[in-house]
Amino acid sequence: MLKTTKNTGLYLLMSLIAVLQLFPLYWLVVSAFKNNSEIIGGVVWALPTEWRFSNFSEAWVSAKVNQYFFNSVSVTLITLFCVLLFASMMAYALTRMRFKYNGLILFILLMGVMVPIHATLIPLFMILKNLGILSSRLSIILPYIAVNLPIGVYMLSAFLRSMPKELEEAAFIDGCGVVKSFFKVVLPLLKPPLASVAIFVFLAVWNELLMAATFIQKEALRTLPLGLMNFSGQYSISWGPLAAAMVISTLPILLAYVLFSDQMEKSFTAGAILK
């Protein structure tokens, strides 16, 4: 008897906290379907009287969220591919290959995990300007790769160190070279940590604002966070379409969350322990 009342109390407490965490998001989603008079005059928690999908089409086309969305997708995918490839190659070289500067390279990479990216902003601006790629997609892709490599290398090296060498040795005996055995044997075995790194990098890049705001000056190349920020400045009166744009930009994250929530937990805890 005592146990059930205790549990009901607990459930009530936990549900109350859940409401606190979710209510702002609920308000965002319902606002995305409302018009201004409903938002200003209406009841905060009420559902829209009419589900206005027009807010979404307005955001998607007139507010150019389609463009921002495509920019974010392309930047994220290219960064993700390069980080996963480079980080796994570097992690392999640093854990399996023999050479002198192993420790030095790992130490320099550790600096990359420790130093805030803000400290790189001003020189990066100059470097990108001198290379003539300021305000192109590359101007954020290259720094994004650089910033996300260290954590990738660390997460993958930790995994590789605990992985037995037998399979690679067998591949060598079968006549595979290093390159072939890396791609055919090692990479497939790296899938679980690669998934963790991928989620970590996906969220970091998809959500990044500071570098995009500094290096992207062409409106056509804005990513979602940057586009949303400008959108909110220009359309300060119509909250409905802005809410719709925000819902659109969160959908990929929600989807990733629903599909990979376990993997996401793993990558966040691993990432935290490295920092």
């Binding site: 965490q21 190659m89 130093v115 020189p123 290093v178 500094t214 979602l224 930009s249 969350y257």
Partner: protein, 294 residues
């Protein structure tokens, strides 16, 4: 195999692509920031070496610098003394063996994966005096006299921003602490039960001490995040009103890219790096004690 694995060309093949990008777009810029911080420079005309002038200006002449430092301290204290205890409470709640705990854990964690820009824009609207839900909610519960322009008032702006970051990240610490709690072997609790330690006593004498490593990580993470705060204030208040929410990173950004003071901006960036490194190092020293064995 050994010989193949010490082939210089192969090693270069595996290391050079990633290392080049890392060095050119991350490592070298860090060193350049240090160099710029001793120059007076508008980004166009030639640099002029000014020694420690930028630092002197930072510590003595620039009033809003100290405001930014104090704001960092406010973020830091909130992170460690408000957010972390809340997260610990949540972690305890979701680690109880009960139905649906995974759902609650997922709900509490979800805001963390959303971008700071999104969360900040959302809360700008929540705080908005005209369309925001906060004032409307206050009126609904007959506290309409509390309604105000939360982000526009020097008295409430910082607190409002702190509430948002707490709401946004409380699930992050929860998840790390939850992972830590899961790692504590059941047998300690069983042994403690025999000695009569249940409920809070078990938390006090078993969970907390065995979690001290994870708690240390959380403290360091919270402190570093607090010192690096940029996006939330950039989007919500842009440092205002009257510098009441300004942060070092935001000042660095404004000095360099709005006022073209690249030298001074770099000095601020160097200050941030040293601040993060020193505090992380000190915390690690202070918080590391003898490992606990039972």
């Amino acid at each position: 195999m050994e010989r193949a694995l010490s082939d210089k060309k192969l090693i270069a093949l595996f290391l050079v692509p990633g290392l080049t990008v890392f060095l050119v777009f991350y490592f070298v810029p860090i060193l350049m920031t240090a160099y710029y911080s001793f120059q007076k420079w508008d980004g166009i005309n030639p640099m002029a070496f000014v020694g420690l002038d930028n630092y002197t200006k930072m510590f003595t002449a620039d009033k809003s610098f100290w405001k930014a430092v104090w704001n960092s301290v406010a973020f830091l204290l909130t992170g460690v003394f408000v957010q972390l205890p809340l997260s610990f409470g949540l972690a305890l709640l979701v680690s109880r063996k009960m139905k649906g705990r995974k759902w609650f854990r997922n709900i509490y964690f979800f805001p963390v994966v959303m971008s700071t820009t999104m969360v900040s824009l959302l809360w700008v609207k929540i705080y908005d005096p005209n369309i925001g839900m906060l004032n409307t909610l206050l009126e609904a519960v007959h506290l309409g006299s509390w309604a105000q322009a939360w982000l526009g008032d020097t008295k409430t702006a910082l607190l409002s921003v702190l509430i948002v970051t707490t709401w946004h990240y409380v699930g992050y610490n929860m998840l790390i602490l939850f992972a830590g709690i899961q790692g504590i072997s059941e047998q300690y609790y069983e042994a403690a039960k025999l000695d009569g330690a249940v409920g809070w006593k078990a938390v006090r004498y078993i969970t907390l001490p065995l979690l001290s490593d994870v708690l240390r990580i959380c403290v360091v993470l919270n402190v570093i995040y607090a010192l690096k705060t940029f996006e939330s204030v950039y989007v919500m208040t842009n440092g205002g009103p009257l510098h009441s929410t300004t942060m070092i990173a935001l000042k660095m950004f404004q000095e360099a890219f709005l006022k073209q003071n690249f030298g001074y901006g770099s000095a601020l960036a160097v200050f941030m790096v040293l601040e993060c490194l020193i505090i992380a190092w000190v915390l690690n020293k202070v918080l590391t004690r003898e490992k606990i064995e039972y």
